[in-house]
Structures are given as C-alpha cells and as structure tokens.
C-alpha cells in the first residue's frame, strides 16, 4: 500500500476500498474472539481456507475468509457470519465447513441446523436474535466486522476518518470541547469526565511547558471481564485513532499502551496494527502529511493487578515497582515521568473517534443525563447467553440479564449480579430494575467499574463470593500500606471463619468497623474499595451471613464445611455412575438398588451431584 501523504488521499483510498467491499463478493467472517477461539474457531477458519482452496471456486463465488474479533455471542461459538446474505451460523465445527461451502456459498441454501434457535424460533441473521436486538455498538462498532490484521479493512470501515477530520477542520481546543460536550466518562471504572481530564492536562501543559503523554490502560484484570480484550483484539485501530486524536488535542508526541501480558493476541494485534499504520503514514512521523508527529509504544504488564491503578501503572512504565502513590496531585498535572499525562481506558479511547466524527452533541443524546453513550459489559456467570454486550447507558439491569442474557439457565432463580469486579458490589434481585449508569449504581453501593457483570443464582453463596473477591485482592495487594496489607488479610480470616460456621454475630460488627478503617485508611482504590463486595452482600443478604454463623448452614449449598450430600433413594436407579467417579470411594450400594454416601469419608467435592443423570443427589 502506498504511503498516505494527505487527507484527500485517505478519503480516496477509503472510497475505493469501500467500493471493492460493496461489489458483492462473498465473505465468510469467522469469529476469533477469546470465547470462540477457546471453542476451536481457529480450526474452523483453517477448514474454510482449505476447503475453498481445494475446490478452486470460480472468482464470482470464492469467498474471502476473514478472521475477525469477538462477535459477542460467546456461548454459541464458534460463530460464522456470511456476507452479503448476513446468515449467522452458530456452534460451527470444522466438519460443518464443507457443507457450508457446498450448500450456502455455492447454492445459497440455508443450513437450518446451524442457525441459532431459541424457544422454537430459529433466526437467520444476527440482528433478529434477542441477544443482539437491544444492543448498540459504539466502542465495539467494528469488532467482529473487520479483520484486525488488515488495515485496509479498517480504513474501509471509516478508521482514521475522525483523526483526518480533527487534523483538517478542528483546532486542538475544538477537539477537547467536542469531548467535553459529549459527556463521555472514563470507562475504566471511576467514571471521571474525559473532556475535563483532557482540559486539565491541556491547562497543566500551558503552565509547565514540556512533554505531555497519552496513555491507554489495557491492564484489564477484573475476574470475568474481557471487554477491553475484545476491543484491543478485534479493532486495535479504534484505540490507536483515539490516542492520535488526543495527542493532536494536547500536542503530545508519545503514547503508551499498557497491556497485560496475559493478553497475547491483544498485544499481537495492536503491534501489527501499529506497524501497518506506521507504514502507511497514519502513525509516527508526519501523520497524513499534516506535519504532526506522534508514536505509540506498547508496555506489557507482568501480571500485577494493582498496575491497573493509574499511579502504579505510570511507575510500571517507568520501570519501577508498581506501587500506587497518593493522588492528591492529579496525574493530569504530574503523571508519567512527573509530566502532565492523560490516562484513559481502552473502551474510552475507542469511543473518541465516534465522538469526533459524529459530534459530541450526537453522542450526548445516547444514554441518560450524567452517563452518556454506551457501555460494554462482559456478561458471565449463571446466565444463558454468556458473552460480550454493549448497551446504551441507563437500560435496566434486568434487560441485560433477562432479555439480552436470556435469564438464568436451568431451574435456578436469579439471585444477584456482581458489577464492577472485586471493587464493585452485589446487586440483589429486588433491585434488578436499577438503571445501569454511573450514578444509579453508586447509589445502591455498587459501581459501574470496567464492565464485568457476574450473574448469580440461588446456588451461589454470597459469603463465598465476598470471600472469593477479598482473597483475590489480598493476593494482589502491593503491600505498601498497612490497612490493605494486613486489613484485607484479617477481613479474609473473618470470612473464612464464617464459611466454616465459626464466628459470632459480634464478629460481623467488628468486621464492619475494620472494613470502614480499610476504606478510609487504605492508600489507593484497590484497598479502599476492597470491602465493597462484603459490605453490599452483608447489607442485602445479612440473613445468609447469619445462617452460616448461627445456624451453621450454607443456604446455597456451597460452603464445604457446612454441607452434606445425600442420595434420594426414590430417585436413585442404582446405575453406579457416582460410585465409579467418587475420588474418596465413599459411595456404596448394589447395582440397580439405591446407593448411599458414607458421610465421614465424603470430601464434598460434588462430582456425584454434577454427574447424576436422575437428580438423585441433593445437598443440604
């Protein structure tokens, strides 16, 4: 590809690429997002390439095999979308590929077996499926559509148009103004207004002339969250373009993307995207012939959750141990190398090009006042449709869980949703209609966070959940300040005791007092917000805590020290499956007659219950 030396040239290139795209050529989009890849999507893509090559199809029919980012509907993966028909095939296996090529690509026949169906209805295209219907994709607009390793594909989908618009017709001040008008708030969790952040940084540079940095936080570490991963993998150009626009607005020359090492595909795709952008003149020296220089470097995180905290992240980039410092002097004034720095989350950066292209006014009308735009969530846990969703701010939580997520699988009852990861809170069923926006979630004790959404049913124990998150943070605490280092450890001991039926009701009060001291006393937000899951579960599910402590009983049947497994003699057929799998060999019984569990040998692993085909094993 030729180097782009002017904005007109980018426009011409885009037009010609779009024309080629609209020519009606067959395209097979294979989702290679984290979920589909785990389910073998790479083999499906390889099968498509092999089959197409072997068959030597005529040019008119031969499809382009495109490996894209996450389509979102992870539960139904591997997913394949066909263009131009829009057909949406789910759970595609490599064995299905030949049939797809034979029937659908050659003869336009629909293979109904591969269509997604729900409650007796099968859906031909993605847009008709309830999972996609309520969604609105802004930050992930091109994820699942483009081939992230091909910059031409991105350009055909309007990548770098917003940067071109900013360069050609907007002053740096206008760019910041547009972001301010949009009302965009940081998608990393705290929800600080992005425009105000940029403005403060711009003012700080004016006061203290010198270098200014733009940084992307891709250290997504919350358990169960993968929104940023999907964006970095599926559309790295949106992040790069967002950073270029901010660099133009702040006159920055250097940017950094901090990605956790656990995301190898995100690192690979970002690196390739940056290389391609550099080689065509969209990044680096003299971007689009405008005379503006800006480049980005990737810094890989070595596995410390705390390095997602802004000040620890800066130290980590500087090559020092990632320990947070007090934020009384904000990083927009003194951030990376003590210079004004704008740090935004991946999803925030991905929103910037949309705002510049369509205008802050347009963006501000999406969502609700105070929380504009959309938010991506990774919907996981006890929900039918596990996957990546993006919805306008302000939709009720129940819409996400019950309509998009399809509700709770099996016989379980919707109990609670954990939002905001380990720093967030547990929202009970009775508050399921809460509007999902920054302020409403904060009001009920949770936070928006970066977008992890873990759904729980009546088989999940809230005490155990609180303990899980606390243990996660205790392990990830940097240990700089005492309240976090020892406070979390002590809180965890309380919860460990509760899950074993030990402790007293006075312990709950003591735990609350300690939690308050940790909230007030901890140095950074990791420690300061660590008590949140415990405090919200205690507020909304106090009776469950009391059941553990007073009645020595785990109502959800999770806490091992407090449960026993039984075999219902009525339901047991004596098939012997459980006896065969039991690692303790503590299930006895004659063939075809009801079995029994020898309680004192049982280690409560629950394997028998998971395996039993007759639901004969109960827990109490």
């Amino acid at each position: 590809m030729e180097r782009i030396t002017s904005i007109q040239q980018l426009e011409l290139l885009k037009n010609s690429l779009q024309k080629a795209k609209e020519s009606g050529r067959n395209v097979v989009r294979v989702c290679l997002g984290p979920g589909c890849r785990a389910q073998g999507a790479d083999k499906v893509a390889a099968a498509f390439r092999d089959t197409v090559r072997q068959q030597g199809l005529p040019v008119k029919i031969e499809p382009l095999i495109k490996e894209t980012g996450c389509h979102g509907f992870c539960k139904e993966g591997p997913l394949v979308t066909l263009v131009p028909s829009g057909l949406f095939y789910s759970r595609v296996k490599p064995e299905d590929v030949e049939e797809i090529v034979e029937k659908t690509i050659k003869k336009q026949e629909v293979i109904s077996r591969l269509l997604y169906s729900e409650n007796g209805t099968s859906y031909r295209t993605a847009n008709e499926i309830p999972f996609y219907k309520r969604q609105m994709k802004l930050a992930s607009r091109n994820v699942g559509d483009i081939d992230p390793l091909n910059i031409e594909d991105a350009i055909a989908n309007d990548a770098y148009q917003a940067a071109a618009k900013a360069f050609s017709s907007m002053s740096p001040d206008q760019v910041i103004k547009e972001v301010e008008i949009s009302g965009l708030r940081g998608r990393g969790g705290a929800g600080f207004p992005t425009g105000r952040k940029w403005r403060s940084a711009s003012n700080a540079v004016k006061k203290r002339p010198g270098p200014v940095y733009v940084v992307c936080n891709g250290d997504e570490g919350d358990p169960g969250a993968f929104m940023d991963c999907a964006i970095m993998e599926g559309d790295p150009h949106s992040v790069i373009e967002g950073m270029i626009i901010a660099a133009y607005a702040l006159d920055a020359r250097q940017g950094f993307i901090y990605v956790r090492e656990e995301y190898p595909f995100a690192i690979r795709n970002l690196t390739i995207a940056m290389d391609q952008a550099r080689s065509v003149g969209l990044l680096g020296k003299n971007i689009m012939g405008s005379g503006f220089d800006f480049d980005i470097r990737i810094n890989r995180g070595a596995g410390a959750y705390v390095c997602g905290e802004s000040t620890a992240l800066f130290l980590s980039i500087e090559g020092k141990p990632g320990e947070p410092r007090a934020k009384y002097i904000r990083s927009v004034e003194r951030g990376l190398w003590d210079r004004p720095t704008v740090l935004n989350n991946v999803e925030t950066w991905a929103n910037i090009p949309v705002i510049i292209e369509k205008g802050g006014e347009w963006f501000s009308k999406i969502g609700v006042p105070g929380s504009t735009g959309t938010k991506a969530f990774s919907l996981v846990g006890k929900v039918k449709n596990v996957g990546l969703v993006e919805v306008p701010m302000g939709v009720p939580l129940s819409t996400i869980v019950e309509e998009i997520g399809g509700g709770i699988p099996g016989k379980g009852a919707f109990k609670a949703v954990q939002t905001g990861g380990p720093s967030g809170g547990c929202i009970p069923y009775k508050l399921k209609d809460v509007s999902v926006d920054y302020d409403s979630l904060t009001k009920i004790g949770s936070i928006m966070g970066s977008g992890g959404m873990i759904v729980m049913d009546d088989k999940d124990c809230v005490v155990d959940v609180a303990r899980y998150f606390l243990r996660f943070l205790e392990e990830e605490s940097c240990g700089k300040c005492l309240p976090c280092r020892l406070g979390l450890e002590a809180m965890l001991e309380f919860l460990d005791n509760f899950t074993q039926g030990k402790g007293s009701l006075e312990d709950i009060e003591e735990l609350k007092s300690l939690a308050k001291a940790v909230q007030d006393g901890a140095l950074c937000a990791l420690g300061g917000s660590a008590p949140n899951p415990m405090l919200t579960t205690l507020e909304y599910f106090r009776e469950e805590y009391e059941a553990h402590i007073v009645d020595k009983r785990c109502p959800a049947g999770v806490c091992k020290a407090l449960i026993t497994y039984h075999i219902d003699p009525e339901a047991c057929t004596g098939c012997g499956l459980c006896a065969g799998i039991c690692p303790q060999s503590c299930i006895t019984g004659e063939e075809k007659s009801p079995h029994k569990i020898v309680q004192n040998a049982c280690n409560r692993c629950g394997l028998c219950m998971d395996l039993c085909k007759f639901s004969a094993i109960t827990v109490s």
């Binding site: 009384y328 940097c478 450890e489 001291a517």
Partner: protein, 210 residues
Amino acid sequence: MKEIDTKKLINFSINGTPAQAKEGWTVLDTARNMGIHIPTLCHHEAVEPSGACRLCVVEARDGAWSKVVVSCMYPPYEGVEILTDSERVKNVRRWVLEMLLAQCPASREIKALAAEYGVKSTRFRIKNPEEQCMLCGLCVRVCAEVVGVQAISLGSRGVLKHVSTPYMVPNRACIACGSCVTVCPTGAMQARLDKVRGDVSQRTGHGFAH
C-alpha cells in the same frame, strides 16, 4: 526538591483553629509549625513522603464532602477544614495501631506509641513475635534518595513484602553508611545491616564509608 513560593499563604483550619500554610506545605508541615501533634512513622524530613504507614491520617472536610487523607502528603487548600481527632480518624488510627502491634510485636517504640493512644493489645494474628520491621520503607527511600545507591529495596508484594537486597545476598552497592539504621523508626534495620553490607573486612576502597 519542592519549589516553594514563600509569599503566597493558604488559609484553612486545623481542629477549628485558623491555620496558614505556605505554598508547598502539607497539612503535617503546617500542623507541626503550629505545634499540633500528629503521630507519624514513615515520615522523615530527609526524604519525599510516601504515605505508607497511614498513622498520620486526618479528616479533610469541605461542606458536605469529607475524606480521610494522609497529612504527610495532603496539600491544604483555601478553606478546607482539617480534623486530627474525628471519629473516622480515630477508627483508622486505632485499627492501624493494632495492625502495627501484630506486624512488629518486638518493637518497643510501636508498643509505646500504641499505648499512648490507648491501644494495648491486638486482634490481629501475630506471625513472628521477633519482628521489629513494619515495612514503612524509610530505609529504602533514604538509600535511594539521600545516599543514592539503592542497595536495598522492598521485595515481593502484599503479605509477603519484605526489605531485602537483590537476590537476598549482600549487596556490593552498599557503602555501609548506616543511614538506613539511623532513620529506621523501630530499630529493625540494625539487625538487618550485616545482611546488606556483607563482610566488612572484605570491603575496602572506593565508595566505601569505613
């Protein structure tokens, strides 16, 4: 070093008493200037504050807004009310002192300090009754910022954190100046010094203090 504009004064209050801070002063600087006592452990004038020990917490109030902050780092601003002994502050301080008693039970200084605030026992588990170090990191900061050799550092993280040399072997970067021993608020560094500097008889020549 801090750039201080001595002409500009910031008016605020500490425990209801009007206070004036020079530009660049922290709440702790101002309180000490006024003779108001705020307990500290990891603070030392020779190095930049780090805010690790959390003992010097105070409550900052501004209308309905209120936050517990560390006075050794918090820059006061016009009109902010600082409380050094509010209920929230007392709760944090009490728990921090109990944590300190569990962290370094062998330190006489910590015991005396805790007793001063009425804390005589701890509800936390004592892991090592011989421990004197509370991991404030003052020794590490002095070594890096004042001596400029970085012979010691804080290793690991969370409950495993410890003061040590790289690879936990005596470090030839150590000039055996003893600054770390001098600044240590609990006397813990005294016992560790030999592990840092190694065999002194083998160490002579350029860059060595003895």
